[in-house]
Symmetry: C7
Subunit: 79 residues, 7 copies
């Protein structure tokens, strides 16, 4: 996936750096945390994360580097 092609994706991610996002991965893993960085492959750096096991259970993970090609979607959490 060439970098030049993901312009709008990068614009969206850029606009939510510093905010809380929810990321769902291909195997169903769901992680919530503060987006600190990203690149054109959708590799993501999140901090203060928790892996959400079910609506009532989560595991604190701290800093997490997520591999972009495992991402299903990224969703900013507005409060």
């Amino acid at each position: 996936m060439a970098s030049r092609c993901m312009k709008f994706v990068q614009d969206e991610l850029s606009s939510v750096v510093g905010s809380t996002v929810l990321v769902k991965l291909r195997d169903g893993t769901t992680i919530r945390g503060t987006l600190k960085n990203y690149d054109q492959h959708m590799n993501l750096l999140l901090d203060d994360t928790e892996e959400i096991i079910d609506p009532k259970t989560s595991i604190k993970r701290g800093m997490v580097v997520i591999r972009g090609d495992t991402v299903l979607f990224v969703s900013p959490i507005t409060t």
Copy 2:
């Protein structure tokens, strides 16, 4: 998947920007929302989304950036 090859896909997506679409992902995740943007990899930006868990249950997700290579299909919802 070279960008020049997905002409009809882009035409279809272009014609439904601003409308409600249903997107099904490789892991079975189903998201309904307003299509705001897309690119030639089928990366999608949806707003006012809900993740549909089953016919009676959904989770509000707001803005969602969906990675194109996880998409099974996109279907405009006509009402």
Copy 3:
């Protein structure tokens, strides 16, 4: 998958535009509808679709853009 290599696939798809086809996707999703368009990646545009859940249950989907690399097979339905 280079476009020049799928000559017979495109010929087959070309010959059934306007007809009803059944498409099975990698996750088991099965969709039946009228083939409206296709490209060399087997991206498909179907209309008047229904997603077949089991022999007795289906969900009306209308227009559907299917991502080619999720397709297992395409089968014209002759009646």
Copy 4:
């Protein structure tokens, strides 16, 4: 997978055009039918097919275009 590299595969497929083959796909789908055409990606055109659900159950499918990168194996059926 470059076309020049699959010489023996193409020779084998070439020798069974017109014969009955059994094709198993990545998701476990098994299809039996007459091989009508193929290309260097192992895209296959089968006719008079049936999808084999279990040893006692099958579904008539007629013509089927199978995407090569979903194929596990192709086996000619000798009778």
Copy 5:
């Protein structure tokens, strides 16, 4: 996977042409048969095969063309 890089794999496969091998595929399918041919993608041609369902059950398959990118491992059977 460039052909020049799989030198030792090809040497190993070359040394067992004509012998019985066991091949395990990504979906768990296990096939035992005589290795007749191979190429640099690990595409395999086996003859006199049986698909092993469980230690007590197998299905005769005859000739089988296996797509290399679905192979987990190939193991010569020494007797």
Copy 6:
């Protein structure tokens, strides 16, 4: 995934060499150990590892070379 594109990922991994990290893989395998080395594909070398089966069970693995394209995420463990 071209090497030049994963700058921030490499910076993050570089900053935690010698520290304990938790790595989750695509099939759900979870490994905790000391990060000894990495490359631009997220291939990882961990030492003093344990594979975490569940919160109460783990298997000592010692040195482990992890293939980058199977990584979901890498998370430094701060204590």
Copy 7:
């Protein structure tokens, strides 16, 4: 995955040729044996192998050629 990029992986594998390693594959298959050879794609040649079914059950496999892109991790077994 270009060969020049996996320098440390090759160094690690090089240092354990002749030793016993445990290899876990994408589908959960676990194989223990003596590493005889490898290449830059992590294709592996193991001898005197056993496929580990569960802590108490294993199947003797002898020589095994493992396709690199199915490898999750390789772990030398120190005794």
